[in-house]
């Protein structure tokens, strides 16, 4: 469908925020990402799915500047961030969370979020007020003074997201925020993500295994399999895409149940 013929503000809203061109990443011999290209528009909520070892997290790390890419180009809001260090990328407004985030040390919840806020301000008081604001939005204010590492995983993930939001980013990369959470916690996380996306107007890209979550909240889903992008479209089409099904269920199953899916 073409977006042509719409208003200027619309245009501004819909121009690409993140563009990835032919990104390829090798680890020594093995190919983690091969020739991946996609672009994400402002205020989109994109899901990135794929079977284990498909190279989703590697892709994130390349975008966030944790790994140097082997070849390809990454543009974020007009800047070429291919060669930038991770903290430089973060300062440009591309925040991310980690798949396994083990909090250690003695920092409290509020302090953790303040670290994020300190990226934009030097003043402690400003950072503090901002952090408190965020905690209110995330319904974390009653946890404020607890040591993070002593809280349950769910809260830790919430705080991690909150800290990332504290850097007030244009875009947020969420890596398996729902992994290892129970349904009700997943509900909360989902609410949080949607809050970030709709109320805070932050573009979100998330890796997720919990399908109902992805399918429910994503505007668009990108599917990786063994390092390659095999599909890209809205949830409904993805769900029916034979490649995707193959990727998830395997060749044989698809052959046996041919016909059931069309």
């Amino acid at each position: 469908m073409g977006y042509c013929g719409e208003g200027a503000p619309e245009k501004a809203k819909l121009m690409a925020l993140l563009e990835v061109h032919n990104l390829t990443k090798y680890f020594g011999g093995l190919k983690a990402n091969e020739d991946i290209s996609f672009s994400i528009k402002k205020e989109e909520l994109v899901g990135l799915i794929g079977p284990n070892g498909a190279g989703k997290t590697t892709l994130f790390n390349c975008i966030a500047g944790l790994y140097p890419v082997s070849s390809g180009k990454i543009i974020f809001s007009g800047h070429d961030i291919t060669a930038l260090k991770d903290y430089e990328v973060a300062r440009l407004g591309l925040a991310r969370t980690f798949q396994v985030y083990v909090a250690s040390g003695d920092m409290t919840v509020v302090e953790n979020i303040m670290v994020g806020c300190f990226m934009r301000t030097r003043s402690r008081s400003q950072a503090k007020t901002r952090a408190e604001q965020i905690m209110k939005d995330f319904k974390l204010h009653d946890l404020s003074d607890y040591i993070l590492s002593e809280l349950p995983v769910a809260s830790q993930k919430q705080v991690a997201i909150a800290a990332a939001v504290g850097t007030d980013p244009k875009m947020l990369l969420l890596d398996e925020v729902a992994a290892g959470l129970n349904p009700s916690e997943i509900e909360d996380i989902m609410a949080t993500i949607q809050h970030i996306h709709y109320n805070m107007e932050i573009t979100v890209m998330l890796i997720e295994h919990v399908m109902e979550l992805v399918m429910k909240i994503s505007d668009r889903v990108i599917v990786l399999d063994s390092g390659q992008k095999i599909a890209d479209g809205n949830p409904e089409t993805i769900a029916r895409d034979p490649n995707v099904v193959k990727a998830y269920l395997g060749e044989r199953y698809v052959h046996e149940h041919a016909g059931e899916l069309t």
Binding site: F98, S104, M119
Partner: protein
């Protein structure tokens, strides 16, 4: 003047702490008025000096989690700058001290840049190496008196000389270092709540995450290392005027580095009071054990044996030191 207010603001500590701290602070101020032996006085000055060393170490080693075992080289830089300037050109302490800090900071940048590419054990050992290298250089460098070191002749000045910090009675030295001590506490109190402080603590927690939050980890570490350095260097300058005869062998020896680190680690690295508690426990223990068992019973080294035992115990039971235990107990009380 946000910095000042935050430096003076201890409100995040429980009232009990503040009361105790206040009482102890008061005691420190009135101590010289009480009847005391010269030995007790010397011990107290040692205690204050090492608390300051510890505070300095604590910024990088405690809040930043970078175990630095090379602080003695900065004691040396501070001490020798002051001594050389005073002996050769009669420069007052209050001038030579900042100069010493400059030298120390410059050196800290020079070695800090490569040093912080290392982590953990590798970093710790490398700091020892650098410190020993500098010591060996000083021991053959005639300009700073080589291995004989430099003597600030007491008869060239007529005490009390506040400009050159040459006194006869220790009480003057006591109050000077006490002043530095309180300033140090305020500074660290500001630091731990400053942007850099927060960044450092999050680096200690998890460098990946810290980077993802836009922190330039390498640079943050180097900056803090310089801060720690200037602390140590200032006390080093004071040491020169207090001892009046400094040699690389006992000013820059590794034992100093170790002691500095131990003060903070034992008391509780990464907490404001940690280094002070550590020094408060170890220094009297050291000197009095030495005095009693060492000199009397001829059991030389017994003090350090007890030391070693304590250290091993702490590291096995509660790595976060005495303060760590306190906090643990508290938390158990709270929930």
């Amino acid at each position: 003047m946000e910095a000042l207010s935050s430096a003076l603001d201890f409100s995040d500590f429980p009232r009990l702490d503040m009361i105790i701290a206040g009482v102890l602070g008061g005691l420190l101020v009135i101590f010289p008025a009480t009847p005391h032996s010269a030995f007790a006085m010397a011990t107290m000055i040692q205690f204050l000096m090492f608390s300051l060393y510890g505070m300095g170490w604590n910024t990088i080693g405690g809040y930043g989690g970078q175990v630095d075992l090379g602080k003695a080289q900065y004691v040396g830089i501070g001490a020798f700058t002051t001594a050389v300037l005073m002996v050769r050109w009669d420069v007052p302490f209050w001038v030579s001290m900042p100069i010493g800090v400059c030298f120390a900071v410059i050196w800290s940048f020079i070695i800090g840049y490569p040093l912080f590419r290392l982590k953990g054990h590798y970093f710790a050992i490398a700091t020892i190496a650098t410190s020993l290298v500098l010591k060996d250089i000083f021991e053959v460098w005639d300009f700073v008196g080589a291995a004989c070191g430099i003597e600030i002749s007491p008869i060239k000045y007529n005490p009390p000389d506040f400009l050159h910090l040459i006194f006869k009675e220790d009480i003057y030295y006591y109050y000077v270092i006490l002043g530095f001590f309180f300033l140090g506490i305020l500074y660290v109190n500001w630091f731990r709540k400053s942007r850099l402080g927060f960044q450092l603590r999050s680096i200690k927690d998890n460098e990946e995450v810290a980077k993802s939050l836009g922190i330039n980890v390498h640079w943050a570490k180097i900056k803090t290392y310089a801060i720690a350095t200037s602390f140590v260097s200032v006390v080093g300058s004071f040491h020169a005027c207090y001892i009046k005869n400094i040699e690389p062998e006992d000013t820059m020896s590794l034992d100093i580095s170790i002691l500095i680190a131990l003060m903070a680690m034992l008391g509780g690295a990464g907490s404001l009071w940690g280094p002070i508690i550590g020094a408060g426990v170890l220094i009297p223990l050291k000197s009095y054990l030495k005095e009693w068992l060492g000199a009397r019973a001829g059991l030389i080294g017994i003090d350090l044996i007890v030391y070693g035992a304590i250290i091993m115990l702490v590291s096995a039971v509660e790595p976060r030191g005495i303060w760590g235990i306190v906090e643990k107990v508290r938390r158990r009380k709270r929930n």
